[in-house]
Subunit: 106 residues, 2 copies
Amino acid sequence: MSMDAVFRALADPTRRQLLDSLHDRNGQTLNALCERTDMTRQAVTKHLAILEEANVITTVRNGREKEHYLNSVPINEIAERWIGKFERGRLTALSDLKKRLEREEP
Amino acid sequence: MSMDAVFRALADPTRRQLLDSLHDRNGQTLNALCERTDMTRQAVTKHLAILEEANVITTVRNGREKEHYLNSVPINEIAERWIGKFERGRLTALSDLKKRLEREEP
DNA sequence: TTAATATGCAACCAAATGGTTGCATGTCAA
DNA sequence: TTGACATGCAACCATTTGGTTGCATATTAA
């Protein structure tokens, strides 16, 4: 569940589309997910494997079917640990700009 | 400045390292950024081009030097428009779990 | 002006990536 | 049990990616 795996998993538009699909209806099977795309089942399988490897989705075996569930924890970790860092940087920059403006037009 | 370009730009660990370097010291030149890695200048140039293409960094030409500045806007947009969506989903899931627990142990 | 410095451009290469087809395995239902 | 259905595995292919080397251009400083 390395951060790099999550970034790489999110890098592909098809995989983000799969996540969107699961967000729309959680717990879909492989075939259900396939019906929403125009590629082969095997291609979807590979993408799902990458998403599962990154721990972005979790699967539950149910007889001959396999249900796929979103796991938003890694995405939130990225948001908090990595993106948040740059967000704070931006807020600081904005704050600095504000102070500068206040100084320049009293 | 498509969202896909930003995701792809963030997918590579080397590029995230470059962003980290700029977060540490904003406005570095190409050579300055090179000194913090172990690859060739040309490789760094390519990565910077991808980051610039995704609008994650902005450059300012200064004589024969080129300064690189972070632009956190696209990253924040991703955080708000895309990651936020899954975060809300998670909160809802937690809320549902809470309600279920409340029902099960009165 | 000339030498050193900072960056840009292009060709080339190995490896990773995204996708396909074909076949195998496992499970449900008649 | 047998056929239909859901998924898994493996080989293969084209393109992209990350990186290199070599040379070109532009700017600063002596």
